[in-house]
Amino acid sequence: MLTDASTLPIHRLSFKAMGSACEVVLTANTAPEAEALAKAAIDEVLRIERKYSRYTSNSIVAQINQQAGQGSVACDTETWSLFQFASQLFEKSEGLFDITSGVLRQAWDFRQPQLPSAQQLANLLPLIGWHQVVLKDQTIALPIKGMEVDLGGFGKEYAADRAAQVLKDKGVTHGYVNLAGDMRFLGPKPHGEPWMIGIQDPRHPDQVIATFPMSQGGLATSGDYERYFELDGQRYCHVLHPQTGWPVKHWRTVSVTAPLAVLAGCTTTMAMLKEAQGLEFLESTGFDFFAIDQAGEVHVHS
């Protein structure tokens, strides 16, 4: 007996991962079947979270950071390919996308509206620079004590892609994986219509300012409203420039759709970091995007 996927009900399964609300949406005959499918995807997300969390002391990332200035750490194939990808991003963004810039968190605590001192930043900036990292024979060495790598820049999107692939391998052809707004789609709604995905208004996060019709590929958003504080009328957001150590200012929000979530994610981040050159950068990628600059002007390419 054949089951026609277009008549199956849609199931939404929520879970928490990487400190945020996430969900798997898919079609399946029954709720238990949907749960079994979603569990495989969620397990994959949790595996990646455990493996690359900088908070877990035995994670590969924690080991590499502990060895900074002391020696190299051997990488498994997956980790190695993530570092290779990071190298590509570093190169393509002319050094703006830098997975060693996480050390700036020591100077910026977005729970307090407090600016770091010039000395604080001056101490941290020498620890940033992917070009200083030694990658050789599938080993990585951070040359200076105190240097850190952090895969947070695309780990969540990578997890969304991997989880989606798990579902795809199990035959899921309608649905998506949503990790706190970073999404990867497996196919349209059962009858072929796209999923309509709302983009938050960066100044009224409870309102939708644009809608993306999505069936395939990835969608990611980066904005100055996710983690920030305001001081003296000035907004300081969590996207930090690796060369100055200061938050970027040009964009309120950037959303990108691309064949993969990981690609959409790194493109939004790079656009934020490019600031005034972000628009030109977005246009040169060929991906569809929706962006609002600091003056509130909307830029769209679709």
């Binding site: 054949l2 997956e78 390919s81």
Partner: protein
């Protein structure tokens, strides 16, 4: 096989629509990440149906008054004095439809009608005999999409006044876990009934079995290679009832080896397609085919694809060489020869095809194309030995227009 090839190519390019350099470079980098992108096409039926209509106009001509002893027409183009006889003319149309039934199944069907008219030589390139025929052929197939592959069951029927052909085929593909390698295996069985108008034979049949084995490998974001092995074994009436002195073995088997390589040049927005095919059979015919095509994309959905093909074959061991000194009589087959043929198609020759295809993608779902091909064939153009002598050069040109629409 061609379809499998195309599907894999689509799987790679579908997610990489004509991206500018930066987007393509980023995508290429991301695709190196483990398992973030599978080959969706090997697993689920296409989301859209496709309809296409093609019209073909094909016309042959053969030089008369050339230096038939060498088959060399080098003088003709310079003097422009040689005359040509029109030979076969074909007007054909093909309508195809592919409909996804659900995520796991799809159906396809093709209807081809062609009308053939003109004149065909009764031996070598001489003694033209008029002919007219109408053929109708129907191909249908059903494809089942599995998690790691597909199974396609096909049936075909083709009928004209004097020839009916029926066939069934089963083709399975299987992709590896990383989806970069696709294996293909297929078997086809054919049964033909031959009742020529001249009643030289009556209710003759021909049966054949085809086996294919292939592998397609995605080597990188920009490269796909494919290797195919083919084997055919047939028994029955392989002679041409309309030729004088044509008595061919009732057994035929052939083996083919084919290699293809498609490379996309991102910086040029172009794709090169190179292919080579080796063929050998138990009649003594060996052939080489070299194909080279360049597909250049321009903006606004335009693309141009110039193509070049060189084909060369040895003669069948029972081929009887032409002897223009005997004209208008055909040479007699050697005394006591069991098998013989004076058909130029089993002679030794080389052929060159030049083609140009222009495609315009009108919108996401519709594209139109025009293809013009010019073919030339001469005994002297072979690269295997010296080629058959005494045959007039042969030319053909074909014009094809088509429209493809997804729905």
């Amino acid at each position: 096989m061609v379809q499998v090839w195309a599907e894999v190519a689509v799987a790679v390019t579908k997610h990489a629509p004509q991206l500018p350099e930066l987007g393509a470079a980023l995508l290429s980098a991301a695709m190196a990440l483990p398992c973030v992108m599978g080959n969706a096409h090997a697993e689920s039926a296409p989301e859209k149906g496709v309809f296409s209509f093609k019209y073909l106009n094909y016309k042959e001509r053969q030089q008369i008054g050339a230096d038939a002893n060498t088959g060399n027409a080098a003088t003709y183009s310079k003097s422009g004095a040689s005359a040509f006889d029109d030979r076969i003319r074909v007007k054909a149309s093909a309508s195809s439809i592919m409909v996804p039934i659900n995520a796991e199944w799809s159906m396809s069907g093709t209807l081809i009608t062609d009308s053939i008219s003109g004149a065909s030589p009764a031996y070598h390139t001489e003694a033209l005999t008029g002919m007219k025929d109408f053929r109708r052929a129907v191909d249908t197939s059903l494809t089942h999409y599995l998690p790691n592959g597909t199974i396609t069951l096909g049936m075909s029927h083709s009928g004209e006044n004097d020839y009916i052909s029926r066939g069934v085929s089963l083709i399975a593909t299987r992709a590896t876990e990383d989806k970069n390698t696709t294996w293909t295996a297929g078997v086809g069985i054919n049964r033909d009934e031959i009742n020529p108008a001249n009643r030289i034979v009556f209710n003759e049949t021909k049966r054949g079995t085809d086996l294919i084995l292939g592998v397609t490998q995605v080597v990188s974001m920009n490269d796909i290679v494919q290797f195919n092995l083919g084997y055919f074994n047939g028994h029955g009436y392989f002679s041409d009832p309309y030729k004088i002195y044509d008595e061919r073995p009732r057994d035929r088997s052939h083996q083919t080896l084919q290699a293809r390589w498609n490379h996309h040049f991102s910086e040029l927005s172009g794709t090169s397609r190179l292919a080579y095919r080796y063929y050998t059979d138990n009649w003594g015919i060996r052939s080489h085919t070299f194909d080279a095509e360049w597909v250049q994309s321009f903006g606004n959905g335009w693309s141009v694809a110039p193509a070049l093909r060189y084909y060369t074959q040895t003669a069948a061991k029972f081929y009887v060489e032409a002897d223009p000194s005997l004209s208008p009589f055909p040479p007699n087959p050697p005394a006591n020869a069991q098998y013989f043929s004076e058909d130029q198609r089993v002679s030794a020759f080389g052929g060159l095809t030049m083609g140009m295809k222009l495609t315009k993608q009108l919108n996401l779902d519709t594209k139109v194309d025009v293809k013009l091909e010019q073919y030339g064939q001469k005994g002297a153009w072979t690269m295997l030995g010296s080629g058959s002598k005494g045959l007039a050069p042969f030319y053909a040109r074909s014009l094809q227009v088509g429209i493809t629409h997804s729905f």
